[in-house]
Symmetry: C2
Subunit: 168 residues, 2 copies
């Protein structure tokens, strides 16, 4: 397993919460497309497609839909897959680790930027210590991601995940 | 292990040769800095520094020196490490998988471009079937890499590797 790197306040964003469903359910929510589409995008946005090949170098593709009906495809690949504990992926590389045409740095407002995200889930009491860390190449990309509403977005999506998986 | 992807002639470069040293020696040459610096850069260029943390997300850093004495640092991380068989790394991500400030696409002549490289070594007879594949984000990056002398460069470096490791 890759060693976790220290949090870098100028380059990274993070999010942590104790939730009351087990890590196994969190893992299913993140790794099975039929579950992921139900919670991944804060409403009224939707995730209308999802493709997952759960291994390093395997595809992680989603398509989000805005309330106005515009589609936003996201393509990346997994880097680290530790069953029911940790999932790491990036949009800097596509399937089979091919580099993507994306600037690591921000080239303008709304421009795509590269990130690597790690989600971890550890059993705690009867629930899960859930943590997300997103790494960027530079401060401009981190700021752009923060301005897009990283914390609120991930928080709302996690609320949706818990509410949806509780009924599974 | 990530599934090997098909060769894409417009995006990839490849190189294959049968060499007369065993895969174990090829592996050592690629993964031990004290060996790597002796063969990695076609003479009269030199590799004057090398750092290797041999695991997915671990650093792969080299510094090349031109005949005129100029230094060219290269930073990336490993993506796949299969002992004595396969090594995959990229310069699109740095240590701990952090994205790098690099354009996937070529932004101008001499500009850095992202690539992912895979080197494989399979026993064949008393030697090794040695193959390298380098993937790019777009055709411009592939062409730039080809124009830099990919095939000649990797061929000369491999000659140096074999000559150096034969004496180990």
């Amino acid at each position: 397993m890759a060693q976790p790197s220290a949090f870098n306040a100028s380059l990274d964003l993070q999010f942590e919460r104790l939730i009351d469903i087990r890590p196994e359910l969190v893992w299913s929510a993140w790794t099975e497309p039929e579950h992921l589409v139900h919670w991944f995008t804060p409403a009224p946005w939707k995730t209308i497609d999802c493709e997952i090949d759960l291994r390093p170098g395997g595809i992680f593709r989603t398509v989000m839909q805005s309330p106005e009906g515009q589609h936003f495809p996201n393509l990346g690949c997994y880097l680290e897959v530790v069953r029911q504990r940790k999932l790491v992926w990036t949009n800097a590389l596509g399937p089979a680790f091919r580099p993507m045409v994306l600037s690591g740095s921000t080239v303008g407002e709304g421009a795509p930027f590269a990130f690597t995200a790690a989600v971890s889930m550890e059993p705690e009491g009867r629930g899960t210590r859930y943590a997300a860390k997103v790494m960027h190449a530079d401060e401009a990309a981190r700021k752009q991601h923060a301005a897009m509403g990283f914390e609120g977005g991930w928080g709302t999506a996690l609320d949706q995940l818990v509410a949806y998986m509780k009924n599974k």
